[in-house]
């Protein structure tokens, strides 16, 4: 895939250089010492290259949109993501229209009005009507985008614990790992502060708080499909950011305060794996990994594991040396599977009493 682009680039450069050398010859032929100021030949040539350049730009843009379409994230796995994706689509289409029009005008004018001795520029300093038009059009378009965006934003950020029966999960971040704490049966997280960190109580839960007793701490994030999940985020050391791209969700995790985000998963891990998009993507990735493994084996290293898709949560705020590998697996499953999984986990009470028994 790189080959195609590289060829175009090299070809364009070739032409450029060839034409440059022609200019050198031409300018020497005229017999005037080169003043290093653009003359008519320069203008002619550079104007033409301008046109070639906008063609290159269009090819590059087209190539990216076609070749990299598999890079776009798959259909959203969360409810609010539907609105998000629609707004994104509208915005991208809009800006690409503006991009295509303005770039071609800019470079085409550069080509069309390339200077020569006989040309006379038009003294054209002002036109109130024209300027009014191109002020008012962005105003209207942007007003539309702003209103749409703000409604969606308010919907996403409006987190109400008393509405429905949300799952309450604390996301706990530290250099360089994530942990999840579920509120348990009482749907209420126990109090916590870094000052309670001791022994097995690694995330500083207040052991004297009765609400904390049924809390469940896990290092995998399991979520029931179709139920709203409210995340309460806490960091013990530096800034982190909980980024879950497939759910169109991100919120920074800030030491000293609790930040919140909420969404409703709508696609289970299994459903996402079965989607056409993901089947194709995983296949491509596994081919790449197979190729790489061959090289590794030849060098005497371990081959790479084949890849199966899982949702993930990754850290997206620089947090130190291993920032690049601070992740947690997310599993979205049916309500029954989720409950069964939760039951298997130890509660906070069980964890600390086990420690006390020792």
């Amino acid at each position: 895939m790189t080959v195609f682009l590289t060829i175009i680039v090299i070809a364009l450069f070739g032409i450029t250089i060839w034409q440059m050398s022609k200019i050198v010859n031409l300018s020497q032929g005229v017999g005037i010492p080169d003043s290093q100021i653009a003359n008519d030949e320069d203008n002619n040539m550079q104007g033409k290259i301008m046109l070639a350049f906008v063609a290159f730009l269009y090819v590059l843009m087209g190539y990216c949109f076609i070749q990299y379409r598999s890079y776009f994230l798959p259909e959203t796995a969360s409810e609010h993501g539907i609105e998000y994706d629609r707004l994104m689509m509208i915005s991208v289409v809009l800006i690409m229209i503006v991009q295509l029009i303005t770039q071609v005008l800019l470079h085409f004018f550069a080509y069309k009005y390339r200077g020569n001795k006989d040309r006379k520029a038009l003294f054209y300093a002002d036109n109130d009507k024209l300027e009014f038009i191109w002020t008012i059009i962005p105003v209207i378009v942007l007003a539309g985008l702003i209103i749409y965006g703000l409604f969606t934003w308010t919907d996403i950020m409006n987190i109400d614990e008393n509405e429905g029966d949300p799952v309450i999960v604390e996301l706990y971040a530290k250099q360089f790992a994530w942990e999840a704490r579920y509120a348990g049966k009482d749907s209420e997280l126990g109090k916590a502060n870094v000052r309670f960190i001791q022994g097995v109580n690694t995330i500083g839960v207040d052991a004297s708080d009765p609400y904390a007793m049924d809390d469940v701490i896990a290092n995998e994030l399991h979520l029931p499909v179709g139920r709203k999940v409210i995340f309460k985020m806490r960091s013990q050391d530096v800034l982190h950011s909980a980024y879950m791209p497939h759910f169109r969700a991100q919120m920074n995790v800030v030491p000293g305060m609790i930040t919140e985000f909420a969404y409703t998963p709508i696609l289970t891990t299994e459903e996402m794996r079965q989607s056409d998009y993901m089947v194709e993507k995983v296949q491509t990735i596994n081919e790449i990994r197979k190729e790489k493994s061959k090289e590794l084996v030849a060098k005497g290293d371990e081959p790479l594991e084949p890849y199966t898709f899982d949702y993930y949560l990754l850290c997206n705020k620089i947090c130190g040396a291993s920032h690049y590998n601070m992740q947690m697996k997310i599993v979205v499953e049916s309500e029954e599977d989720y409950n069964a999984w939760l039951k298997k986990q130890k509660t906070f009470k069980e964890v600390i009493s086990a420690q006390a028994a020792n």
């Binding site: 003043s35 915005s91 991208v92």
Partner: protein, 605 residues
């Protein structure tokens, strides 16, 4: 105004009498604005070389992770054992690359160079209001550059918390090695840099307000001066806030205060800090950080306005609208900082407010872009290298600016925040655009600075390779970001999901290396032309502005005789009389010093 001009005249005569300059007063501790401009430019270019080299190093790492390279061993030494880059070194490289490019190259190197060179020359002043302050400003900048470069050699590594140095990461040496002595030096360097920037900015504002020559009303000033003037004002408003942030951070780091720290457990112990908030730091940082974007960009846009008009042989379209846009951008730039913090944990209502103000800023930006395009329309375009870079700037400014509409929308920002989409966006809209502005300025005013011409063919090669390379690097990068790839990742191999992005990362690195290599053509052209370039004429680009009425040889006080008087605005290119003949027959431009001709009307632009 005239009283000042007369006074300045006396001053100049005085200078002619005792014209004893030593090497030190002429080349080192010079108070002549033209020499200070050159000092800024060369320091900026050296810092730029360091910054770009760093980007190449980390691009190589991203394209071929975990592989060994001799080039790493050469430049990174112990930070690349056996030629494999250390993760801390990677973070340090991106951090210092960002710091150097934003502050040392694009703030000081661009605005410092051209504000110093052009403000006195284009408004008709003998020098800056305070030559001494100007000199101090440069030398503080030099000192801060030296300290920043020195910090690279600290035992535990230079600052590595990202150029935004968010605490607690930047406050706690336990969190990363770079937050020790390296961060201290970073903060000291920046504090000095801010002092330098403020001295410079105050000088620019005072000079523009007080030292304009007779006839040079505010609405006759070239757009370059408007841009520098407004940039200086934004700098004065916002840089002190960064200084306060830096001071508070120094206190948190060294004196046990808790402005930004609270509830922290690190290296097995709880810190005493209580009640501070990292979000407060983010507010303070971005209160400068966002205007900073315009501090970088406005001078480039001002330079471009002047160069496009001159080389299109046409007045800039919508002069008043351009000034209004500059003012609107300047005002709005101080109330949009929160768009960097949509997901920082601040109140979502604030997110709504900042979305609104942010998308508003697209309006004056759009007006500027349209005005540039219209200026080209029906022109007589002279494609000097400076003109090419100016058109290139308009192109990247549009491409990069448009994606701002996505990032400025709080909703859409959620999923592209801190991904490569952001990296692509800001590099195009402020990095590449401002660099194009810098190059355009150098090519255009080189004859004024050095009395020589730069080689145009090398200029053409420089531009086209850079233009292709810049788009080749940053356009595909948007798509990598849309895939959800976070920035500042040392490598992506821990996420098999990103395996199919690797080819594109290689492609981007190839383009980056090519683009960086082409800059050598520029460096060669620059140095070679200083010594062996063709001697310049007084007004090579047939320009209207005042700097081209000074002699090619630099003299203290700029004009040998009296300061010229100004009779018209700077954009009377191809202005014709009613019979179709140019205002000055046979010449398609009317310099600002030419009085209005018979039957000629001055337009109320």
């Amino acid at each position: 105004m005239s009283a000042t001009a007369v006074h300045a005249d006396d001053h100049a005569h005085e200078h002619e009498h005792h014209h004893k300059e030593t090497f030190i007063t002429k080349y080192i501790f010079s108070i002549d604005h033209k020499m200070i401009a050159k000092q800024y430019l060369i320091t900026g270019l050296i810092m730029g070389t360091i910054g770009i080299l760093m980007s190449i190093l980390f691009r190589i790492q991203l394209a071929w992770p975990d592989e060994s390279f001799t080039i790493f061993e050469i430049f990174l030494g112990k930070w690349a054992p056996d030629g494999v880059m250390d993760p801390n070194a990677y973070l340090a490289l991106v951090t210092i690359h960002g710091t150097i490019m934003v502050f040392f190259v694009l703030t000081a190197g661009l605005s410092g160079t051209f504000s110093n060179l052009l403000i006195p020359l284009q408004i008709g002043a003998r020098d800056m209001a305070s030559g001494f302050m100007n000199m101090v400003s440069y030398w503080l900048f030099f000192l801060s550059s030296v300290i920043m470069v020195m910090s690279l050699f600290v035992e535990a590594g230079p600052a590595a918390a990202g150029w935004t140095i968010y605490p607690p990461l930047s406050a706690l040496p336990q969190a990363m090695g770079g937050s020790g002595a390296g961060m201290t030096l970073w903060l000291v360097s920046m504090a000095i840099f801010i002092a330098s920037s403020l001295l410079g900015s105050l000088n620019y504002v005072v000079t523009v307000l007080n030292l304009r020559t007779k006839g040079m009303s505010m609405t006759r000033m070239p757009l370059t001066i408007w841009a520098f003037f407004v940039t200086a004002i934004i700098g004065i408003v916002s840089f002190p806030v960064l200084l306060s942030a830096a001071l508070l951070l120094i206190m948190d780091r060294s004196f046990g205060t808790s402005f930004f720290l609270s509830d922290i457990y690190i290296s097995g112990e709880v810190l005493h800090n209580q009640g501070g908030s990292p979000v407060l730091f983010e507010h303070l940082f971005w209160f400068l950080g966002h205007p900073e974007v315009y501090i970088v960009l406005l001078p480039a846009l001002g330079i471009t306005s002047e160069i496009i008009a001159t080389n299109a042989r046409k007045p800039i379209f919508g002069y008043r609208a351009m000034i209004a846009s500059i003012l609107a951008i300047a005002f709005l730039s101080t109330i949009v900082w929160g768009h960097h913090m949509f997901v920082s944990g601040m109140n979502p209502f604030l997110g709504s407010v900042f979305t609104f103000t942010t998308l508003l800023i697209a309006i004056p930006s759009a007006v500027k872009a349209f005005n540039y395009i219209t200026t080209l329309w029906k022109g007589n375009l002279q494609f000097n290298p400076a003109m090419l870079f100016s058109i290139g700037l308009v192109s990247t400014f549009i491409t990069g600016g448009l994606t701002g509409i996505i990032l400025g929308d709080s909703t859409l920002d959620i999923n592209v925040h801190d991904t490569y989409f952001v990296v692509a966006h800001f590099h195009l809209v402020m990095g590449i655009s401002a660099l194009y502005g810098l190059f355009a300025g150098v090519y255009h005013w080189f004859p004024k600075m050095y009395g020589k011409m730069m080689n145009k063919k090398l200029g053409y090669i420089h531009f086209w390779f850079t233009a292709i390379g810049a788009y080749g690097v940053f356009f595909p990068m948007h798509f990598v970001g849309m895939a959800g790839l976070p920035r500042r990742y040392y490598n992506n191999t821990n996420f098999p999901y990103f395996d199919d992005l690797q080819d594109t990362n290689v492609l981007i690195t190839m383009f980056a290396i090519m683009t960086a290599l082409v800059q050598l053509v520029f460096i060669y052209n620059f140095i070679h032309s200083i010594f062996y370039g063709k001697k310049a004429e007084q007004n090579p680009w047939k320009s209207n502005t005042l700097e081209w009425t000074t002699p090619v040889e630099h003299i203290h006080g700029n004009w040998p005789g009296e300061i010229p008087e100004v009779h018209r605005w700077a954009y009377d290119y191809s202005k014709t009389r009613e019979d179709g003949e140019y205002v000055i027959p046979g010449q398609d431009y009317a310099p600002q010093t030419i009085p209005l001709q018979e039957n000629e009307e001055e337009l109320h632009h």
